[in-house]
């Protein structure tokens, strides 16, 4: 079976590299993008199995990326996990309403992030289902 592809979108290159190394080590193929426009372009090009999306991005923030994905028939099937430093209050509901599967707050413990990624990927093909965060950041 070929590797599952994850598109990591974050404007901080350190965060991108950190996630890439961690995900590679867990046998995921990783593509990265640093802004809103690039994220849509990469998604079109690679059709990833999952997108991990930051909210504060140049050239179209996370919410506008979610809207564009939703508006595109092909891309709307890509499940999105929002991973953001912004407050859960307000942003989580907004992100989920805009189509994200769940909202995780930075910094997120590795095991928990990996568990949520697994849950979302396994739910693929079935009715989209919100994986509410049973997860607190880090501890």
């Amino acid at each position: 079976m070929s590797q599952e592809k994850i598109l990591v979108v974050d404007d901080d290159p350190d965060v991108r590299l950190g996630l890439q190394l961690r995900l590679n080590a867990n046998h995921y193929e990783v593509i990265t993008a640093g802004d809103g426009v690039a994220s849509i372009a990469e998604a079109r090009k690679h059709m990833p199995d999952l997108m991990i999306l930051d909210l504060g991005l140049p050239a179209g923030d996370g919410f506008s990326v979610l809207e564009r994905l939703k508006a595109n028939e092909k891309l709307s099937s890509i499940p999105v996990i929002v991973l953001s430093g912004r407050d859960r209050v307000g942003n989580r509901d907004r992100a989920i309403k805009a189509g994200a599967r769940t909202f995780l707050q930075k910094p997120m413990a590795n095991e928990k992030l990996l568990a949520v990624i697994r849950m979302v990927l396994d739910a693929k093909g079935r009715t989209p289902e919100v994986v509410y965060d049973l997860v607190d950041p880090l501890s």
């Binding site: 901080d12 965060v15 950190g18 190394l21 080590a25 930075k106 910094p107 997120m108 590795n110």
Partner: protein, 521 residues
């Protein structure tokens, strides 16, 4: 541009005094003042509630109001309007009290010079404006500081993410083998990452706590639910540490008079601490019941079998930024703000918080909250006079979204509550606090000690004031105001006011249930 005339309300029952004061205004340029003269407090209150008055000249001895009470009633009717009290020559003490209660100035009758009165009015208005500006500036500063802290805290999360992620990448050997010593050092980095993260959360919580400083909204809170919520929140953390977390809900627990969100917050802080400081295999327990020392309060206890707190620390543990510095507790994290926030919240709900603790044995945190008593809320509007039966109306005001959405925004409800409050007469109407699950909070209840025509006029005043408020200009909301009367209640000769109030409260409760049921059908 021509200035708008200042609207002056003179409340004075002595015809001679009133004439003198009016004459002083007659010398002013036409159009600079407009004077309305009333002789009774009741009329003045109605006039003030109707709005448009800039300044009040208030005599403190009226046929239907005396002393400071007149000022309080006037301020309750129109908190923003400038008040100047008129006192007699021997009454300077009273004048000083009035200033403390928010009067902007006082004038002693018989000592007012002709030209001085209009000038005093203008100065009073100017002074109030400046006070308000200063207050606004202070608020802006606090807000700026909170926004800054909040911004900084969010910005800190991103670099922290990278420190965490690369430390774990190295520690997990993803970048090559590490020596045991390198691994130990990486664990030190990670421990500090956790600490820093807890601090960021604390900082955010404080800015949130301060941003909501004024929003403790008292209502009837079912305590079992609040405790259940907090226990569920901490269940995961407790299980992870193999700590036994227990709470036995009691069916007989009365509701408390508090703010549901804040009660949950206090419990969450205490439970979070208890779980944090209790070693694996320990016990954390929540109990609630009557408070022996004060039967109007409930006592809630959160106890643990943790490391305990030294007597010196017990005294200071609720202080701002205080942290236990004992090196034996190096495992603890955070800025030490949790208990400070808890104390602030408990105090603002009328309770007390304290701790009893023994090192290495565990801690018991206690706090009290007032028991909700409908009788206590209604008692002040009941007539003491035995011969006068009270005629009580229950006025219901419903706020609904025009688009049929079930959720009226919290802010809108807050505004509606404030407007309603302003429509009431201080000594004979009561706006009931939100009464827990019985009814949703977009329905307001007023108990008014009044006859038929009075209930109608309060109803239409509420309707008008709500419509006029800017919050409701958008026309997104509808109001339904209705009223019904309680069966006539007469206090028996040997019945105490307290017992009578209980009887009235039972009627009110029945009535509210009826109204809510009708709505449901």
């Amino acid at each position: 541009m021509r200035k708008k005339a200042l609207q002056v309300l003179l409340v004075e029952d002595n015809a001679g005094d009133a004439r003198l004061l009016r004459e002083m205004f007659s010398k002013e340029a036409a159009g600079s003042f407009e004077l309305v003269h009333l002789t009774h407090m009741r009329e003045a209150e109605d006039r003030l509630r109707a709005g448009g008055v800039d300044i009040v000249l208030l005599d403190m001895g009226l046929p239907d109001g005396h002393g400071l009470e007149t000022l309080r009633r006037a301020r309750a009717a129109a908190p923003e309007v400038v008040m100047i009290v008129l006192t007699g020559m021997e009454d300077e003490e009273l004048a000083a009290e009035a200033m403390k209660e928010g009067a902007q100035d006082y004038l002693i009758k018989g000592q007012i010079e002709n030209r001085a009165l209009p000038r005093a009015l203008r100065h009073a208005i100017e002074r109030q404006r400046m006070q308000r500006e200063t207050e606004q500036m202070r608020k802006n500063e606090v807000q700026l500081r909170d926004e800054f802290l909040s911004h900084v805290s969010h910005e800190l999360r991103s670099p922290l993410t990278s420190i965490y992620s690369f430390s774990t990448i190295i520690a997990d050997g993803l970048a090559g083998e590490t020596t045991p010593q390198q691994n130990d050092y990486l664990q030190i980095i990670l421990r500090n990452v956790h600490q820093l993260q807890a601090m960021i959360e604390d900082l955010l919580q404080v800015t949130r706590a301060q941003a909501h400083k004024l929003s403790v909204d008292l209502e009837s809170v079912p305590l079992n639910e609040a405790i259940g919520y907090a226990v569920d929140t901490l269940r995961g953390a407790a299980t992870e540490k193999k700590i036994h977390l227990s709470f036995q809900p009691s069916a007989r627990l009365p509701s408390v008079f508090g703010d549901a969100t804040r009660v949950r917050q206090v419990l969450t802080i205490l439970l979070d601490n208890a779980v944090k400081f209790t070693p694996a295999g320990g016990t954390v327990k929540v109990e609630a019941g009557e408070y022996e020392k004060d039967e109007s309060m409930l006592l809630i206890e959160v106890s643990d079998t943790g490391c305990g707190i030294s007597p010196e620390a017990s005294d200071r543990i609720f202080e701002h930024l205080y942290q236990v510095t004992d090196p034996g507790h190096a495992g603890r994290r955070g800025l030490g703000l949790g208990l400070h926030i808890a104390k602030d919240l408990v105090t603002r709900q009328g309770g007390k918080i304290w701790v009893r603790s023994e090192l290495e044995k565990g801690s018991q945190f206690f706090f009290t909250l007032p028991i909700f008593s409908l009788a206590g809320v209604i008692r002040p509007i009941l007539t003491n006079d035995k011969s006068a039966g009270d005629s009580l109306a229950l006025i219901t005001a419903d706020v609904e979204c025009r688009d049929g959405s079930p959720d009226v925004p919290r802010k809108t409800l807050d505004v509606a509550r404030m407007v309603l409050q302003q429509c009431l007469r201080a000594d004979s109407d009561i706006l009931l606090p939100g009464i827990g699950p019985v009814c949703e909070h977009k329905r307001f209840f007023v108990v008014a000690n009044t006859r038929q025509s009075g209930a109608e006029s309060i109803g239409s005043r509420i309707q008008n004031q709500l419509r006029r408020h800017e919050e409701f200009q958008s026309d997104n909301f509808t109001f339904t105001i209705s009223h019904s009367f309680l069966p006539p209640l007469i206090r028996a000769a040997n019945e105490t006011m307290e017992a009578f109030a209980e009887q009235v409260a039972a009627e009110v409760r029945d009535h509210i249930n009826d109204v809510c049921l009708q709505g449901a059908i």
